[in-house]
Symmetry: C2
Amino acid sequence: MSGFLRYKKILDLFSEERSSWTVLEISKALKKPSSTIYRIIREMVLAEFLESAAGSYFRLGPAFIKFNRIINFSDPLVRAGQPFLKKLADENPITSVNVLARLYGNKVMCVADYKSPSFKKNTSYQRGKLMPLIYGATSRAIIMQITNRKLQDLINLENFKSDEDKNNFLKDLKNDRKKGYCITEGQVDKGLIGFAVSISNKKLGIEASLSSIFDLDEFLLEHEPIIYANLTSYGLLVEKYINEIFEDIQNYHHETNSIR
Amino acid sequence: MSGFLRYKKILDLFSEERSSWTVLEISKALKKPSSTIYRIIREMVLAEFLESAAGSYFRLGPAFIKFNRIINFSDPLVRAGQPFLKKLADENPITSVNVLARLYGNKVMCVADYKSPSFKKNTSYQRGKLMPLIYGATSRAIIMQITNRKLQDLINLENFKSDEDKNNFLKDLKNDRKKGYCITEGQVDKGLIGFAVSISNKKLGIEASLSSIFDLDEFLLEHEPIIYANLTSYGLLVEKYINEIFEDIQNYHHETNSIR
DNA sequence: TTATAATTATCATTATTTGATAATTTAATT
DNA sequence: AATTAAATTATCAAATAATGATAATTATAA
């Protein structure tokens, strides 16, 4: 265990389910002597990536809140898409959860979400949550824009139940690519239906999706064209804004570099 | 430069104002050879703490969004206080920004905020933003609960204009401690008035504040008693919930430890 | 106060980082 | 498609830092 991994392995222990650890627990989990863990933890506490809590427990530190904010204000995808989620929700024919998600390793991560105030059911899509790559429209609209080697690598990491399962998935992917958007029912959350379009920007390396999720109890077939129209138009709008932001960033860097 | 600092120094370059850097720029800024920076950056990209963007720039990675989420769902202060911010806003006599903030190093960080939808002015208090320790009611209600050595250390880090300035600050602090809450006008944002109460929990090491910020153009003296009543009652409520969460955590750890 | 747990310090050994440079890959331009 | 420049990775000996066993100290609880 060396380099950044030494720190990351500790951070990765912290989860929603288990958000505080003692040095001894960490030392057991990572099979490292506690003197080593103490030394590392001390460094991370100093850097505010961890903080000590009651009862000699440690938890994640405020540095994450700070850097998260910087991302919020600067990430082109979040900046471009965030403001449209509420509008999308307001224009949808029924209450919805609206999500901006992106590839994160071999998972999909929601980076922004807006739920209509009166939406009743619980959904898995909340900012920061990691979701499976192969289930749900949100994820599908991301993976369907990935090709060649990268797609192969990602798919090889997935555990399909059978070869047939895998082939079906690939066939669906092909169809969705042709249609330009995805619909899935209950793949992630029972009783919900999701619609999604791809969001991409080659130059910025953005592989993302915009999606609206509805309660199956409220959803009617006649809603589909409106949902589809909303998603595609807002999707294009988000991509347009990403481009503008990209140009802003470029100009900024040109300026600051020429000043020097 | 060794240990975690090596990584932190790079991360600390990234700010709202300057959210993407090339390896060469980092290498200049930190006065380190680019081969070294490349090696470090590669590690951090692999860990998703950085990600490569267009034009050989790098920016903060999605790991921060993920860990930020875990904090949101597990930090006792956020969990206990977050749900009350909207209620506080709704019960205030005029539109307001409501903030939960805590000590972060020698600064104050907002960890949750709720703005009345129709609040017009811009405020500095937004989740994740670092604020000065000695200005504004939000900060004052935090520092006023700190004593002895820790207070000395924190105050020594501040640059007061004069000794008189410093003495005035200490005098105000004493008064606020007696009163049990703080009011400041325009210290952080011109045209705004802030009210704050302390939030603390010894066992959890929480030194925080709950505050409501109003537009001076809307604020009337007769609002003060209601504001005061709201803040103190919600402040106590938040502290009560922090305590309950603390006990939940304890029980959880007892269970998991006895199972093993 | 005493006892126990938590944390820090020490230090020789072992392993890793460093930085100069070369090699390779990628992107831009002709 | 070929050329060039820029970005990134690889190499390796020297310098530096991490490790972990143990001892010492400090905080916490009984």
